[in-house]
């Protein structure tokens, strides 16, 4: 369990410092979202544990972002609830299930972010614009990085959990 929090800290450091120099169309991989997806789906944890982890990841994202504090926390909590529900219904210990779920989580993150911005901050963001400008590249880039990080995370997590 503690390993996931350590990975979250490492990933936020990589996102804000390292991957910025390797941005594609100024987009970096969303490693924290990948970690939340993995945590919520793969291990069938208790909902409270999932929500606490989502809150922690959202907080990390928020303190390194210029947006209003709480936006990312809300996005991650919503995702955590949906993902843990899907996990209880369709739990499979197969990495191939993570890919469509990650794509769903990325789009879900975009939808929730746009909704929060438009409803609470009276902005007029277009989801389609966000999709073509950000989400599609973020998804592609994150999935490439996913194959590098998947095995070490799985190994660490499973070793600690079993």
């Amino acid at each position: 369990m503690m390993w996931f929090y350590i990975f979250a800290l490492i990933f936020i450091f990589l996102e804000t410092a390292f991957f910025n120099h390797f941005a594609i169309f100024s987009i970096r991989p969303n490693l924290i979202l990948f970690l939340v997806t993995f945590f919520s789906f793969y291990f069938n944890f208790d909902i409270i544990k999932v929500l606490l982890f989502c809150l922690f990841c959202g907080f990390l994202k928020d303190i390194f972002s210029v947006g209003p504090l709480g936006t990312q926390m809300l996005v991650f909590i919503c995702l955590g609830i949906v993902l843990s529900y899907v996990s209880r219904k369709f739990l499979r210990y197969n990495w191939i299930f993570i890919i469509p779920l990650y794509i769903f989580a990325t789009i879900g993150q975009g939808v929730i972010y746009v909704l929060i911005q438009n409803i609470f901050f009276e902005r007029s963001l277009s989801l389609l614009y966000m999709f073509w400008r950000v989400l599609i590249w973020e998804m592609a880039y994150s999935l490439i990085i996913f194959f590098i990080f998947f095995r070490p995370i799985k190994k660490c997590a499973i070793d600690k959990l079993t």
Partner: protein
């Protein structure tokens, strides 16, 4: 009979003596070689037994030397990289300093310490804040051009939205034709210069500079280059896609204009 026997024995002895004499004269070199060779054989055998041991010792010594040299080489490579980085930094800082000296603005130099964690926003955090004289809304530039604007302040850090952020906007004009528009971010690393009149002369490759009239940005600071010109959906105005002059993804040092 007895005398004959004695004569034969004497002849035999003489013959042996003569043959020994001849042998010692003619075959001395060969015999010497043989005797010497035979005498050296045990020594050589002992020497051969020492040879592998000696080569093993020298091989081990060479391996140690190689590993020491490899380490030294690695250290030297690291030192060289550090020197090259220091040289690059020195060059950048010299350029910043010369810009700072040549401009008439009050400027605070700062280092970028973090980038935004979200792909929906484009911002950086710098290592200077309130106590260094920075105020909300101060413009941030480098010697290459406009970087962004201060939007959040702390005692020792500040958060800056970059020109490519969706919430960023500033007055800008085309340097060649003085066509005025509003520059805003477009997330993909570029910007849009909007609300240009339809009859304005805007071409690809034109330089965009800050407007400066009652703006937070000093006038005439380079912003970027026009890469595309199109009509807005409404058909009433033009917009231009502008590529920022500053490489926003690899920002390291910036200048905060506190007064101009």
């Amino acid at each position: 009979m007895e005398k004959k026997k004695k004569t034969i024995l004497l002849c035999f002895i003489l013959l042996i003596g003569a043959s020994l004499l001849i042998k010692s004269v003619l075959v001395s070199n060969i015999s010497k070689n043989i005797t010497l060779g035979l005498s050296k054989l045990p020594l050589k055998l002992v020497g051969l037994s020492f040879l592998p041991a000696e080569s093993l010792v020298s091989c081990n010594r060479s391996l140690r030397e190689v590993s020491v040299l490899k380490k030294e080489n690695q250290q030297l490579k690291i030192n060289l990289m550090q020197l090259e980085e220091a040289e690059r930094e020195n060059k950048r800082l010299k350029e910043l300093l010369s810009f700072k000296d040549s401009s008439n603005f009050n400027i605070v130099a700062a280092r970028v310490i973090s980038f935004d964690s979200s792909n929906f926003r484009k911002s950086v955090i710098i290592d200077k804040g309130k106590k260094h004289g920075i105020k909300m809304g101060n413009s941030v530039i480098t010697q290459d051009g406009v970087v962004g604007m201060v939007v959040r302040l702390d005692n020792s850090t500040s958060q800056i939205i970059l020109v490519s952020d969706l919430e960023f906007s500033m007055g800008a004009k085309i340097k060649r034709s003085n066509a005025i528009g509003v520059l805003s971010g477009s997330l993909g690393g570029g910007c849009r210069l909007r609300y240009l009149d339809l009859d304005e002369d805007v071409q690809i490759g034109d330089e965009v500079v800050s407007l400066g009239q009652n703006s937070r940005f000093p006038p005439g600071i380079a912003v970027g280059i026009v890469t595309e010109v199109s009509k807005e959906q409404s058909g009433l105005t033009l917009f231009a896609i502008v590529r920022p002059k500053v490489r926003l993804s690899s920002l390291q040092e910036v200048l905060v204009v506190t007064n101009y």
